[in-house]
Each structure stands twice: as C-alpha cells, then as structure tokens.
Amino acid sequence: MTWSATARGAHQPDNTAFTQQRLPAWQPLLSASIALPLFFCAGLAFIGLGLGLYYSSNGIKELEYDYTGDLGTGNCSVCAAIGQGRAPPPRCSCAWYFSLPEFFQGPVFLYYELTNFYQNNRRYGVSRDDAQLSGLQSALRHPVNECYPYQYSAAGLPIAPCGAIANSLFNDSFSLWHQRLPGGPYVEVPLDRTGIAWWTDYHVKFRNPPLVNGSLALAFQGTAPPPSWHRPVYELSPDPNNTGFINQDFVVWMRTAALPTFRKLYARIRQGNYSAGLPRGTYRVNITYNYPVRAFGGHKLITFSSVSWMGGKNPFLGIAYLVVGSLCILMGFVMLVVYIRYQDQNDEDEDDE
C-alpha cells in the first residue's frame, strides 16, 4: 500500500501466446487405442528380456558353505566352541572340503558372507573418519567425534583407522587348495586379492598419510590400532601398495553393506590354470577362524560364484521381467475386451446425444 495516488487502470495486456495461455502444445491422450499396442509391445519386450535374464542367471553357478561352526556342521565347530565367550578369540584354523564333479565355469569369485550383521546401523555407519582415511595428517591425529568410542585408545592415542567400522574389520582368511587326483597332493589355487575394491575407493578415496622417511610405520607413529585388531594398520599386508588405509580388504570392508545379510568380495580366481574356472576335483579351503559372529546370532559363509555380464546369480530380475511382461499382455487382453465391448456402447451414447 502506497500513499501516493496511483493510477490503477489496468494496462492493456500483452497479447502473446504465453499470456493468453495459447502456447502451441502437444495434447496426448492416454486412451485405450494408444495403450493397447503399448501394453502388448511392452509385454512382449519384457518377456523377451525376462527370458534372457532368467537363463543368463541360471547359467551362473554358486557354491556356498556355512562355516560358522554350529554343532555338527563341520570341523569349524571346534573353532567356534573355542572362541565361545572369549574375546578376543584365540587363533584357530579349520577347513572345508568339497569336490567339484564337473568344471566350474569361471571366472570364479570368492565371497564371504555375514548374516545378521548390521553394517547399516546408523551409529555404526557414521563411525568413521573419511578425512583420516584420505590420509589427512590432522585427521590422523584428531579423529572426528563420530568415531567415539573408537576415537582414542585407552592410552589416549588417536586410533587409526578410527571408528566402529574399522574396528570390526573382518579378519578371517581363506586359502584354496586343489587336489587334482584323489589322494594326490593339494596344490594351492592362486587367489587374486587385488581389484576387489572399487577402483576409485582404492586409488582416490583412501590414501595413506604421507610417508615419513619412506616408512609407513613412522607415518602412523603416535596412533593406536583399533582395539580389536591384532596388528597395526601399516602391517595389514606386506605389500606396500596394499597396506595401511589402502589395503583392499580394508577398503572393501569400509564400504558398508545395505542389508544385514551381505556378501563381500574376498578374492578372484583368475590366474594360472584356474583363469577359465575351477577344474574337476577335490578342494580344500583353509580357514583362519577369527571373526566372532555367534555373539550376535550371525553366520559366516564362504561362497564361490561365477559372474556373468549381469553380475552374480540373481533370478529376481528375470522373473520380475517375465511376470511384468505377462501382466502387460494380460492387461492388454483385458483392455482389448473392454475396448471392443464398450466402444460400441460409447458410440451409441454419442448418437443418443
């Protein structure tokens, strides 16, 4: 409101298509005549795709073994029994024997799987310091508060890597042995432990702090390893390119899973004679049993899986496509019936008017 006398006469409006709401427009109508062919086409396409996906998924082989060590399920139950109620559990090894009656088409990937493990718990998920993991000196010395209670050790040293996620790093290890002939010697199958983490995580997101005098250990001096760890972070692997924060296992673990049952990639089998897949024969997996899961009712599994263009075995997508495709076709038919029956009626209505 202004107090000056304003002329309030409306100005002549602009005569543009926009102001007159007469912009040229495409006016589609979702009528049965358009929807019908659409439904049929979509249905056929989906069924085709679904069939492809289904067969593609069916072609993938998976071999899974629960080595948690529930009573009477194998020799890992010994380890489980030893570890019961003791923290940290003592080192223990067990083995899983299996035989492949036929060639296991490769490339074969080795996964470990945990159940009932809530990596997606909010408090757990935020308990990390990305700045520290990117090698920032200041963050190395002063981890963020989210890491608490895994922020500083009892001695008051900053924990590197800090936080609950790092602290709970999965520390079972596996090795695969192949017995070509019955009674013959077990030959170790080479496991490729590289390339299991995202390329960007391994090369960009995770960085070690700058070396001091060429030594990673000195760079980490004055920090403490997470309480559950048996060794400091710079000793995760003897390979200088795979230790510290850029240890592949560690990077994989740090990518928190979406669901309480999750798999993580352990190794790829793609070297030597095994690059095409696992030949027939008897195999042994040597398991270093460290990781306690029974405390929270979880299970540990080890899985061999081949991988196609669409990843691992997952019949869901194929089935879903098939179902949706068939539904589309079914709906198409229903609509066709409706269309034919009521079209005449509508015409009559219009004639009446």
């Binding site: 409006p13 006016q27 990937f109 700045a131 928190t256 990639l265 929270f296």
Partner: protein, 1146 residues
C-alpha cells in the same frame, strides 16, 4: 474486522481513560474558546505522520521472524530444525534448516523490500510541504508537523494533507471540487461545501481572526459518513452553531480540482485520517482447496507420528535382545548406556520424526503460494477479459482464491450495473395519466428541429397543464446533479444550445437520465403517430442549467430562465428510497418535490391520479424499466419554518444523527400530491443472458439480489434468461403475505416443489433437466426479513430450513427490494446451509460490498457506481460477461491445477519417505537414512519441484474453447471433486505402492549378490541411490502421464529436471568435495550406472510403478468416462477445434 477492533482498543488504551469520549473538540487555529464556553476536555491527537511501514530498522529481524514463525507450517519446520540441533538425529540439521532458511530469507527479503518502499513512500508523504496559516501568514512546513487544529491552505491539484473541515474557498459560492480517485477510485468530481459562516474568510489574515471550535466524532473509517458541529464565536453575537456533515469534510488523499485554493482546519491527522483507517487488511478468505489441504496435512501428520511411534516401539521390541542392542562391533558410549530408558525412547521417537518429517515438505507451501501468485497473472493478462471501451482489465486483489473460482455453486448477482449496463436512458414519463416519450433519440443527443407536441387531443386542461409543467420542474429540481461547466460557461446568460452542452454529473445515473430526458422534446405517446405538420411546434423541454448561489436555474419551454431558491435537500438513502428538495420559486411559493420508488411514494400520497399512474408504473416495471414517482406538496411559510427547525435539530445532533434525520424526513415527506412517474431503461449488459445460461448449465445456481422492485427485476430476469417461459414462478412477497401467513405460504410452496422433487432428483442423474418443470422463486426484502427474524418460540430455524429447501429446488431465485445488509444476509444463509456450498457474489456498487465481503468469492465490476465494489472484491472484472470465462475457464483450470499440485505433492512425498520407513526394518531401527543428505534436501527443492509448478501453471486438460462451449464440464469438478477422500486415498495408496515397488525392487536386486560384471559389491548408499533414482524418474513420469498439455516449457522442465538429477548426481559423486566431512557418495552413482542390471531394474521398477496408474486411467476412460474425458476423446477424434465455432457463443 478484528483489526479495527483491536486498533480501537489499543488506541483507547494508549490514549488513556479520559479520552474514551465519543467526540473530540478542535480549536480552530489553536485559539482557546472565549471563557464561559463549555469546558472541553483536552485531547491528545497524533501528529500528521503517516506510518504505513510495519518495521523499523531495529525491530525488523525479530518482528519479521516472529510473524513468519506464527505461521503454523513454518513453526513446525522450526521445531524439526531445533530437534535436529539438539538431539542426535539421522539427518544433519542442514537438510531441514537450509530449505527453511531459504523460505524465511526470501520471504523476509520480500517483506523487507516492500517495507522499505513503504518507508520511502511514507517519508515522501510526510515531508512534502504544506502551507500553514500561522499568525496571519502563510508558512511552509513539512506535512508530518501538521497538528489537529492547524489551518491549512491547499492549492489546486494538490492533495489534502489530512482530513480537513472546509472553511473557505477561492470560489465565491464557497464550494470546491475534489476527486477521490486514490481513495475509492471514483474519478468524477465531487462538490464539497464550505461552512456557511466561514466561507467569507478568504485570506490568511481573515483566517487568523477566525475564532471557532469544532466538535466532531472520534475518527472512524467510513469514508462517507461524518458528523460534527462548529461553533463560531464572534465578539458581537452569540456563538453560531452549524452542523457539519461529510459535505464539509475534505479527506486526506483526495485532490482539489477546479478551485484555486481552499482553507481548511485539520481535524483528523496522521493515522487517524479516514484514509489511514480504511487501509485495513480485509478478513482472510480461505479456499476450499486450502481447507482440504490442511485436512490432508493433518492426516499426514498422523501418518508421520504413527510411523515414528511404530518404529520406536519396534526398535525397543527388537532391541530387547542385548546382542542386538549392543553387538560387540558397535558398542555404545558409557553415557548412552546410562541414559534413562524413557528419555532414550523419546529421543528415538523424535529422531524418527525428523527422519520422516519430509513427508510434510516446506516446499509444498512455497510451491502452492508461487502457483497462486504466478497463476493469478493469467487472469490479469487475459485479453478476452479486457474491456476496450473502458480500458479496464481484470484485477486480482487476492490470489488465494483462484481455485475457488472453479468451485462456485451459487452466484449472487446484483442487477443494476452488473446484469444491466447501468447506462440509463429516459424512456417515458407519465403525467396525470398522459404518457410522453422522447421524440427522437439519437445517441443521447436531441435532434433539434423535431420538437413536437400537440395538445389538441390530449389537452390536459388548464389545471393539468399546470401540473404537467410542475412535473417537469420537479424533475428538473429534485436531484443532486452538478453541472460541469464547459470553458465558456461563466456567462450568466447562456444560450439554450450552449446550455445543452453542459455535462451533468451525479452519483446516480438515473437522475442524469431524467434531467437529460426532460430537456428533450417529449411527445405524448397517444398522438405521436400523427403527421408532424398537424402538430404545433413548441418546446417541451425544461433544461436544468446550474446551481448558483443556492439558486437553481432552469430554462423553461419558453426559453426563459426560472430561478428557484434551494432551501433544503433531503438526500436520498437506500432505506427511504426517495429524496426531496424544498425550493422557493421566484414568486415566493415554497414547494417540496419528492422523487422516489413507487412503493415509498404511493403510501405518502393523498391526492393525484394514483390508480392511472400506478397501472402505468406497473406496466413499465414489467417491461423492465426503472420507474420513479414524482410528487409534490406546497408549503406555507409557517410549515416551512417548522420543517427547518426539525431538520436543524436533527442535523446538529452529534449522536444518532442518522436516525434523527430519518425521523425528521419521515415527518416532512407526507401528504404529497402525486404528479407522475418516469421510466428509465437500463439495458442488459451484452451477453448477460448467454453468461447466465452458461452458468446454469454449469450447475451453478444464479440468484439475483436487487434493490429494484419486483416487476422490474423479474423482467430483467426474463430478459437475461434466468427465468424462461416454462419457469413456474413462486412468489413470497409482501403482497402475498398480506393474504396468507408466512407459514402457509412456505408450506404451500414446499408442497408444490416436493411434488415434483422426486422426478427432479431422478433427472439430476442424467445431468439434463431441460424438460422438467423449472421453478423460479421471487422473494422480497420484507418477506425475507420475516423469514430471517427469530421468533419468540425459537422455531425460526424451521422457516429458514423450509425456505432453504424451497430455494434449493428452484433453478433461479430473485430477491428484490433488498437492502445491502440483506444481500449479505442471504449470502450468509446459503453459505452456512448444511451443504456448505461455495458462494460467489458479484456486484458493482457500494451496496454490494457487504455481500462481496461475505461470499466465499467476491467479484467486483468496475462499473459506473464507482470502484468501491472492485476495491473490496477479491477479483474485479470489467463486465458481467467476463464472469463466464473467469469461472468456466480460469476457475476450472486453477482448480484442476491446484488439486493435482496438492495431491501430487503428497504422493511424491509418500514415495519419498515410505522407503525410508521400510528401510528401518532392515537397519535395526537405527534411523539410518536411505538417501544421502543432498538427495534428502534437494528432492523437493530441485529434482521434483519445477515440473509440478509448471504443470500447475500451464495445464489445460481440455482446450479453453471447449470449456467455454460446454459449460457442463464445470460439473465434473463441482464439490471439490478432485480432492475428495477417495481421490486422496487413491493417490496415497499409489504412493505407498510405488514406494513398495522401489524399495523391494531394489531389495531383491541387491539381496546378497553382486550386480556388476567385475564381481565387486555395492554398499548401502548405492542401494539408496538406486531407490532414489527410480523414485525421481517414476514421480516425474507420473506427472508427465498426467500432463495433457505439453508446451515446450513442460518439455524443458520435465526432461530438464530429470537431466538435472542425473548431472547433479554425476557431479555430486564425481568429485571429492573438500567441504564435506564424509565422502560416502563418491562414485556411487557412476558405479551404479556401470552395472547393467541396475539399468534394467530402473526400467522395470519405473514401469511397474506407473502401470497401475496407466491401467486405471485407461480403464476408467473406457468404462466410466466423465464428461471431461468424453470431450477429450471427442477432441482427439475430431482434431483440435479450429478457431471458435460459430455456435460456440450460444
């Protein structure tokens, strides 16, 4: 309304107890009254500073924030934000703080800017120079220093600095002309009169010698009402007391015209001026859509709370096993362990609330406001609603009610000036039973040579002749017309031709038509077909020349000037419905001429050919003419003196002046002698009938509320097709009530109606009620007040109900003889009847303001009776015919747009938040968010906001021409059809279904397997991003499915915002953002896109989400098509209509 009350209270409170008096006393020129005069209570009055600004520099931030957070929505978001700050919540306070901050800042900047403009305008006004008279000299001072009692000089074309009592003018007759264009928009000149006793004070020195006090009422906002009195003291005589009325008051904001300068004394200053008091915010009207929106909000709030509750309870049930509550890998801090269980549960509850709070988004309010604000421009821009003739376009005074225009069920329209042109044309007059018609009418100009009247046959005789002349004189004298002089008008003797050039100005067009009419040559109707040569040529016209020095001059048939001294004017009011003048002729005879509605004249007539005239009046009324009766009475001197005293006494009364005046008038205007009657035609506005017909086809009930008499109004109703030939008219009129009791009449009518009621309702299903019996109801003001009047036994409501029942079954209702307040009463009656229909009132005059304010939507017509109606309305249009487009096209569009906007907003937020809720079951109820913070924040702000905003501005589900051609389409959206519970639940369930599809689709995709060919695994953020991507696409495509009108803008916005989402995600995940303390989104989106199954899943899930809606749309269109859908299909078949069909206007 409340504001004024509060203001008065505050004012009173601040002013102190002693000032709670009804009048204030002003010392003119601050000169104390002579001792012995009454002791006056001194009063403090504010200075003349105008403060329209709300804030000062210091209080802006706190006051503005306070006002913004008084809005419940803002407050809710503030609470959420504070909760996020205080407790450990899953999302950072930024996610809710940023949008809130944005909204608050933008609003604050807008309001601050507006206030700054107001400050500037205020200071410009407060500092503009004003001429004061101080000690006999003129002094220039700033306007704000003006005080009550100061004498002010105002020059031509200046605006008055405050409310002044007009003391004297440079014009000899003590008048001045003002325009009140900035007050009420009327640009016509109005005459104001100086106080009789002071009009001789022409110079500053004179003024200084003036010794007077003024008593007047306390400031009040009515522009047209003022009562006060002035005491002029002089050394010689006793003080003179004069009444002051609104004609003596010059209002702030008005401009002086045609007068060199005036003197006045300030009586109301600053914020107490009538203009300042008038700038009050009107009561807020809320639209039905807004009400539904608020109900839906409450539903969502309940959903929100129950979600949070469920999750909290589930969390504690689930956590009852200690290894779940605190597994070894995720230990709590000592403080957390110690915390009280209930406190923990409560914080958890709050955290869940925060997590799910996005279900009620800030952006919805912003978008709705923006849609309303921007959308209202389409009305003002509309070329078809622009009137070339007057140069006026539609005005939007509030944009809150746009969609209400699509919901109107009852239209209450004024007749005069709304349905009709208010362009009066003199049709005929009837004197003593002889009828005269204007001989030749040509655009209001008189053909000079064609003057003709013959008295041979219709000779009224000597007495009749005298009466006839008296009648014309009466018409010439009994009015309040001012003559706007031409430039050459100062000559005392004007030639008859130049006299015709003068322009008459009056508040009432009837008067102008009458005075212009009698100046024409009139022909008695009964002989006008005779050849002209047989008739004696003779002027019949009486021409009113001017009012000079209180003498009215008129030119009679013989071209002589007659002068009448104007003694009194008993001005017109709508209750009395008549006006009178008392004049003294040159011969010294005193006449009272009275002019008014037949109903108010006939009862006061004691003599005259009443029956003949009455029958003529009734005949004319049936033809839709506006009739007025003219009567006179001769007064002897003693009578006149008595009258004078009576009037004077009433006029100087400070309290109850109106009532006392009315009583005095009542006593004076009686025992009249009837002279004749006049008839004036008011033509229907163009396309009024077409508009009304269209409204009725649209299912809108049209009621005409008019002050006119029944016959005239009914004729107009027939003319505009409100009543048709087959309409059976039911009458509840005073006449009928004289014969029967109200009770009987009402019951009889309801019986008549209900008899056919069954067939009527049955027919309603087919939507066409053309063949069934139509009923039209006519009710007049008196009968209405009987119905409305509460009876002693309290059973009044039954009459009301009965009346409403009858009305409901009538296709058209005509209420005549309505007082302005009764119009509002009717509107209120319907508004609060049990269906709570949406009402619209349309009118052009000050008498329609009350109903315009009362109705849900008030529409003003920028008409001849000033702009008061337009000023108080929600929308103003130049012509009645524009109502059709306003309702059927704009209203319809706005309604479907905003209802889709509202439903869609709720839908997309269900889609957004429900997966979060589901995710809680898989993350141990730990309030883990599914989406990244950036996505949470930007979902409503940028990814999905523009398409729906543009949809809600551009959507046209049916072409504009089709909507106009087929008014029945309006029925499709009646009764808030698109926001009914059924529709709302459908949208909500669609949202829930889609959310389930997104979430479980992604869940089964990710369940325990890899989806990349390199065997690497995805984490929780990829999971969330997948859900989010599917959601953004689904939600946007759902809108695309609903869009019927794809302009390039829609294309740009819909595809653009999808593209924006993708580009943003690529950027957001493509860079390590140094300012973030987490890098959880790094490469997540790109990694997801590198996986084939993710693409397949996105396509599948989007299709599955949209499938049910597509199916529903297609099936409904095929099986149960609505009228709209039929028209859409028909348009598709026949192609878009090329231009308007010739029959389109029918």
């Amino acid at each position: 309304m409340d504001c004024s009350l509060v203001r008065t209270l505050v004012h009173r409170y601040c002013a102190g107890e002693e000032e709670c008096v009804d009048s204030r006393t002003v010392y003119v020129g601050h000169r104390e009254p002579p001792p012995g005069a009454e002791a006056y209570i001194p009063q403090r009055c504010p200075d003349n500073r105008i403060v329209s600004s709300k804030y000062t520099f210091w209080n802006f931030i706190p006051k503005n924030l306070f006002e913004q957070f008084r809005r419940i929505a803002n407050f809710y978001f503030l609470i959420i934000f504070l909760v996020q700050l205080i407790i450990d919540t899953p999302t950072s306070p930024v996610t809710s703080g940023l949008p809130l901050f944005f909204v608050i800042t933008v609003t604050a900047i807008k309001q601050g800017y507006e206030d700054w403009l107001r400050h500037k305008a205020d200071s410009a006004v407060n500092q503009c120079p004003v001429h004061f008279v101080q000690h006999g000299r003129l002094v220039r001072k700033q306007s704000r220093k003006l005080r009550v009692g100061d004498i002010v000089m105002v020059k031509e074309d200046e605006t008055f600095p405050c409310d002044l009592i007009f003391l004297s003018s440079s014009r000899v007759d003590g008048t001045c002309h003002v325009t009140t264009a900035s007050l009420d928009g009327e640009s016509s000149h109005k005459t104001h009169y100086a106080v009789q006793d002071t009009k001789g004070f022409h110079t500053e020195e004179d003024m200084d010698s003036l010794h007077a006090t003024i008593e007047c009422e306390q400031p009040q906002p009515d522009l047209y009402r003022f009562v006060g009195r002035i005491n002029v003291y002089s050394d010689l005589n006793d003080p003179v007391v004069r009444p002051l009325g609104s004609e003596n008051l010059l209002l702030r904001g008005a401009t002086l015209k045609n007068t060199e300068k005036i003197f006045g004394v300030a009586i109301y200053t600053g914020m107490e001026t009538k203009m300042a008091l008038n700038y009050q915010s009107k009561s807020q009207k809320r639209s039905a859509v807004e009400k539904s929106m608020n109900v839906f909000l409450i539903v969502y709030l309940c959903i929100l709370i129950s979600k949070a509750l469920i999750n909290t309870v589930m969390k504690y049930v689930w956590q009852s096993e200690p290894f779940r509550d605190e597994p070894w890998y995720n230990q709590k801090t000592e403080a957390e362990r110690q915390r009280n269980l209930f406190l923990r549960a409560f914080t958890d509850f709050l955290a869940f609330m925060v997590l799910f709070n996005y279900i009620i988004p800030v952006s919805m309010y912003v978008t709705v406001e923006m849609q309303k604000f921007l959308g209202s421009y389409f009305i003002t821009w509309d070329e078809e609603m622009f009137d070339e003739e007057t140069g006026e376009g539609p005005l939007v005074n509030t944009s809150d009610l746009n969609e209400e225009l699509g919901q109107v069920e009852y239209v209450f329209t004024d007749k005069t000036g709304t349905l009709t042109e208010n362009n009066m044309e003199f049709k005929e007059c009837c004197v003593e039973g002889h009828v005269y018609v204007p001989h030749a009418i040509c655009n209001g100009q008189v053909l000079p040579a064609a003057a003709a009247i013959d008295m041979i046959d219709a000779s009224p005789g000597a007495g009749g002749r005298e009466r006839e002349e008296l009648f014309f004189r009466a018409v010439c004298l009994c009015h309040t017309i001012q003559v706007k002089d031409g430039d050459e008008a100062d000559g005392p003797r004007k030639s008859p031709d130049s006299g015709r050039r003068c322009v008459y100005i009056s508040a009432s067009p009837d008067e102008v038509a009458l005075v212009e009419g009698v100046q024409r040559e009139l022909t008695p109707r009964d002989i006008k077909q005779l050849p002209q040569s047989h008739t004696a040529r003779k002027r019949l016209g009486f021409t009113y020349l001017r009012l000079k020095d209180n003498y009215m001059e008129l030119q009679n048939r013989g071209n002589d000037i007659e002068r009448f001294e104007l003694l009194e004017i008993l001005s017109f009011d709508s209750v009395r419905r008549r006006m009178s003048v008392i004049v003294k002729s040159a011969t010294g005879e005193i006449y009272l001429f009275c002019k008014g509605a037949d109903s108010s004249i006939f009862p006061r007539v004691i003599e005259g050919k009443v029956d003949q005239i009455r029958s003529r009046v009734e005949r004319n009324a049936v033809e839709g003419l506006r009739t007025l009766c003219v009567a006179y009475k001769r007064l002897i001197q003693e009578e006149y003196e008595g009258i004078c005293k009576l009037l004077q006494a009433a006029k100087v009364a400070l309290q109850d002046r109106e009532r006392k005046l009315a009583e005095a008038y009542e006593q004076i205007e009686k025992d009249l002698i009837l002279l004749g009657a006049t008839a004036v035609e008011d033509r229907l506005q163009e396309k009024a009938a077409d508009t009304i017909e269209a409204l009725q086809k649209a299912g809108i009930k049209v009621w005409v509320l008019t002050g006119d008499k029944m016959e005239t109004a009914a004729a107009a109703c027939y003319a505009c097709k409100l009543f048709r030939r087959n309409t059976q008219l039911l009458e509840v009129t005073t006449k009928r009530l004289e014969e029967q009791s109200l009770h009987d009449v009402l019951f009889e009518l309801s019986k008549t109606i209900l008899h056919c009621g069954a067939s009527l309702t049955r027919d309603n299903f087919s939507g066409l009620s053309a063949d069934t019996q139509d009923y039209g109801l006519i009710i007049d003001g008196a009968a209405l007040s009987l119905i409305m009047k509460p009876r002693e036994d309290g059973s009044s409501s039954s009459y009301r109900e009965l009346f409403l029942d009858i009305c409901r079954n009538c296709s058209a209702v005509l209420c005549c003889r309505m007082a302005p307040l009764q119009k509002a009463q009717i509107v209120k009656l319907i508004k609060f009847s049990k269906e709570r229909p949406i009402t619209l009132a349309i009118g052009d005059g000050a008498n329609d303001v009350s109903m315009i304010l009362e109705a849900h939507v008030g529409i003003g017509i920028v008409g001849k009776e000033g702009r008061q109606a337009a000023r108080n309305s929600d929308y103003a249009i130049p012509k009645f015919k524009h109502l059709k487009k306003m309702l059927l096209v704009h209203g319809h569009f706005y309604y479907i747009r905003i209802s889709e906007l509202v439903q869609y907003f709720f839908y997309k937020n269900v889609c957004f938040i429900f997966p979060q809720f589901l995710y809680q079951f898989f993350c141990g109820f730990s309030q883990q968010t599914l989406y990244d913070t950036a996505y949470l924040t930007l979902y409503n702000i940028s990814f999905t906001s523009l398409p729906v905003l543009l949809y809600s501005l551009m959507e046209q589900h049916v072409a504009m021409d089709t909507l106009k051609r087929d008014p029945a389409l309006y029925r499709d959206i009646a009764k808030n059809a698109l926001l009914r519970w059924r529709v709302f639940i459908y949208w909500t369930f669609l949202g829930v279904f889609d959310a389930l599809v997104f979430f479980f689709g992604a869940y089964f995709m990710f369940e325990n397997t890899t989806v990349t060919s390199n065997g690497q695994m995805f984490g929780n953020w990829t999971f969330g991003t997948l859900v989010f991507t599917v959601m953004v696409f689904t939600v946007t495509l759902k809108l695309a499915l609903d869009t019927h009108y794809w302009t390039w803008i829609n294309h740009v916005v819909i595809w653009g915002s999808l593209l924006f989402y993708v580009v943003f995600s690529l950027l957001w995940g493509g860079i390590i953002w140094p300012f973030l303390n987490y890098q959880r989104m790094y490469y997540v989106f790109i990694q997801m896109l590198s996986s084939g199954p993710a693409w397949l899943a996105i396509v599948l899930l989007v299709v599955v989400s949209l499938l049910p809606d597509v199916l529903k749309k297609v099936l409904c269109r095929q099986l149960w098509p609505s009228a709209t859908e039929k028209v859409q299909t028909a348009c598709l078949v026949s192609g878009p209509p090329l231009g308007s069909h010739p029959l389109a206007s029918l």
